[in-house]
């Protein structure tokens, strides 16, 4: 510690620089520099700096000063120079305040240019300093109103000066690739909401040959794009195309890219794919032997030529029209799936999931398939949302958690086993029949009940009886169910004295709160020291809440009461 008293003197300068790099925001760094000699000295070696136009603008409004955003970026890069490893510039919120140009000297420069961070001049101002070759990470989020109408040279300029860059993320820009140089050290590239003048991605493939991670989120300007990257491991591709420039939607992954990929996530842009069948699945199965996770969204998918993918353990198909009516090809070609999510998958007819290693399944299906079947002996978690299948077969003896949203059970229901079922959530207008099927003679310890949004409550009279809770230790009454239960005061339970082992109860209160507790019969059946959580509706008055919270516990002093809010 210095004589004047700076405990930070006791830490080596390199460590203080590391700390400042984790602080990174230039405003905070400015405060550190004024607070401590040790931090001031370390600031010249700060490895990571981030500048936000919106944050700077707020500080100026609070009385701070500061040069234009673009020059600040250049100045800090020049100041730290060869020690700078990571630079993040964020102008995505503009100045954070419309028309905030009061600090601009008239005639000096166009205020609009100051927030065009991806233009060649702006990039060169910091990249051409001693920081350029030292930088390992660059993250630029441009200001879309300034960047969308003019092409920018950020990529070629960065490739010219930042020879050792490893990670690059550019957002909200129109980017040219003219003059782009090869960047052999770049392994991570993310382009988000970019219009890219590289229709087929050939410049990207040629100049970034060592990419291991590629994220293309909302990248437009593409036509027959192909990824050809031999070392690629992870690819996330979300297309937001106008549809006019994409003639073929061929999600091709050539031989060189395939074998190293472990995760692929592609979300296509609707509505184009609805009338254009894609061969993504067979192509991926042909080339990506080591793929373990695959997610495809918004597409019409063929399964012709689909090969077995023994390493695939996680598959998610969302809003897909699938040419595999009964899922037999899916079952055959993805035999080792542990997790399967089918959300909004159409084109199905009597689909049957038959996967021996499946552990988790989330299936949301329309009313089109007349029968649904799941044969999965090791399935532990099942979330099923359907309408009213005529036939429902759940051959899932190991399921411990079941979340079922269904209008009505059909005439043929086969739910064998479920010997391990302990956590059950049912959302249905026909609770009576469902509870008989899934609760009776089973040791359900956690029960969550809900009604669909369009429901009235008459079914509750038959459904809710004391036997329901006699072996349940935790009950959650979701909002609509709670409301109907209390509205109709379904208390045939008052005629029963059935001590339950209910240890936890959660109820959602409607907006208007009664003076007396509307679920007393439930409390009469709670175990001693039961924990009751009451969630008041956000619109309910404070007075009513306080009254309830002070009066209700008086009748049940042994219960532990907790209070919260829902909306």
């Amino acid at each position: 510690m210095s004589e004047a008293g700076d405990p930070l003197d006791s830490l080596p300068a390199a460590i203080l620089a590391d700390v400042l790099g984790r602080v990174s925001d230039t405003g905070d760094l400015a405060a550190c520099r004024l607070a401590s000699r040790a931090l001031l000295a370390a600031s010249y070696h700060c490895p990571r700096v981030s500048l936000s136009a919106a944050v700077r603008a707020r500080r100026r409004r609070e009385g701070g000063g500061g040069d234009a955003f673009r020059s600040a970026a250049a100045n800090v890069a020049a100041l730290i120079g060869p020690y700078l490893r990571s630079l993040a510039l964020d102008a995505s919120e503009g100045h954070g305040f419309p028309d905030d140009a009061m600090w601009v000297e008239e005639g000096e420069f166009d205020e609009g240019d100051d927030l065009h961070l991806t233009c060649g001049e702006s990039v060169a101002s910091w990249a051409a300093t001693a920081a350029g070759p030292a930088l390992r990470e660059v993250d630029i989020a441009d200001f879309w109103p300034q960047s969308c109408w003019r092409k920018a040279e950020a990529l070629p300029v960065i490739s010219n000066f930042c020879h050792n860059l490893v990670k690059l993320r550019l957002k909200n820009a129109w980017l040219s690739v003219a003059g782009l140089k090869i960047m052999p050290t770049l392994t991570h590239l993310a382009l988000e909401f970019i219009r890219l003048d590289d229709e087929d991605l050939s410049a990207l493939n040629r100049c970034f040959p060592c990419l291991e991670t590629l994220n293309l989120i909302g990248v437009g300007g593409l036509k027959d794009p192909k990824i050809d990257l031999p070392q690629l491991k992870t690819c996330c591709w979300e297309l937001f195309t106008s549809g006019r420039n994409i003639r073929t939607l061929d999600l091709e992954l050539p031989v060189s890219a395939g074998p190293t990929l472990q995760e692929v996530d592609i979300a296509d842009f609707s509505p184009l794919p609805r009338w254009l069948k894609a061969e993504a699945l067979p192509v991926i199965s042909h080339f990506c032997h080591n793929l373990s996770k695959l997610r495809l969204k918004n597409a019409w998918l063929s399964v012709d030529g689909l090969k077995i993918m023994p390493n695939l353990t996680h598959l998610a198909l969302e809003f897909i029209l699938l040419d595999d009516e009964n899922l037999s090809t899916l079952n055959k070609c993805f035999p080792c799936l542990l997790t399967l999510n089918l959300v909004g998958v159409g084109g199905l007819k009597n689909p049957k999931i038959h996967l021996s290693q499946l552990k988790t399944c989330h299936w949301e299906v329309s009313n089109v398939p007349e029968s649904l079947a799941i044969h999965a002996p090791n399935l532990v978690y099942l979330e099923l949302k359907c309408v009213r299948p005529e036939i429902l077969i759940l051959d899932t003896p190991s399921v411990s958690t079941l979340k079922l949203t269904i209008d009505k059970l059909g005439p043929t229901v086969q739910v064998d086993g479920f010997a391990s079922l302990t956590n059950l959530r049912i959302e249905s207008p026909n609770l009576n029949s469902l509870l008989k099927v899934f609760v009776n003679n089973r040791e359900i310890t956690t029960l969550d009940l809900e009604l669909p949004s369009s429901k009235n409550g008459f079914a509750l009279y038959e459904a809710v009886n004391p036997e329901l809770f006699s072996r349940t230790t935790e009950v959650k009454l979701s909002p609509r169910f709670s409301y109907e239960l209390m509205r109709h005061t379904v208390f045939s339970m008052t005629a029963y004295d059935c001590r339950s082992c209910l240890k936890k109860l959660l109820v959602h209160m409607p907006p208007s709160i009664l003076t007396g507790c509307p679920f007393v019969p439930l409390l009469n059946n709670c175990a001693p020291s039961c924990e009751v959580t009451v969630l008041f509706h956000a619109d309910s008055s404070c007075n009513a809440r306080q009254a309830a919270a002070s009066v209700w516990p008086l009748g049940f002093p042994d219960i532990t009461w907790q209070w919260g809010t829902w909306q």
Binding site: G5, D6, P12, I15, A30, A31, L34, L39, L40, R56
Partner: protein, 171 residues
């Protein structure tokens, strides 16, 4: 945290007391004030400094002397290493442990940082440096000084120079 065994050596966390217990693969560490700690080799290897010494065969039966690390801080570092080695996959538990571990006075935190730096325990360095950084964020100059007990000794001229440079590059 540490238990003293029959011969006066300390066992911190798991592990049998033994200098040469092949089955448990223990290693002896000596703090700067002469306290002795028995640690599993796996936990000790979280320190790249000690790990390289073990690999190079520089660790004899006597153990490793750490002249730069006092006993109270070494005990804490060992506790950290033992915990992270014992349950590396229980992320919630580890997060909770880490949060409690760094909830100490700043001078203790700085001591841990210096020890972790000397011992080259990267995860511990990351944790502690991030903690210091998080405590600095969004604070004013005065708040930072108060936080660390810093007495301002900048002259008005020095302060003016710093402010000028701040306006040019940082604000």
């Amino acid at each position: 945290m540490a238990a003293t065994t029959a011969d006066g050596s300390k066992v911190v966390g798991g592990g049998e007391k033994s200098n040469v217990d092949e089955e448990s693969k223990m290693i002896t560490l000596f703090s700067s004030d002469g306290e002795r700690f028995e640690v599993t080799q796996e936990a000790a290897a979280m320190s790249q400094t000690i790990h390289h010494m073990m690999e190079d065969g520089c660790v004899d039966d006597e153990g490793v002397h750490l002249p730069n690390v006092g006993s109270s801080i070494l005990a804490m570092v060992i506790e950290y290493c033992n915990r992270h080695v014992a349950s590396p996959d229980e992320k919630e538990d580890i997060r909770s442990f880490d949060a409690g571990f760094v909830n100490v006075e700043h001078h203790t935190l700085f001591d841990i940082i210096r020890a972790a730096n000397y011992l080259d325990v990267k995860e511990l360095m990351d944790l502690c440096c991030q903690t210091v950084a998080d405590s600095i964020k969004s604070k004013s100059v005065e708040e930072i000084r108060e936080l660390f007990g810093i007495v301002n000794d900048f002259t008005p001229e020095e302060e003016a120079e710093i402010r000028k440079e701040n306006q040019w590059a940082f604000e």
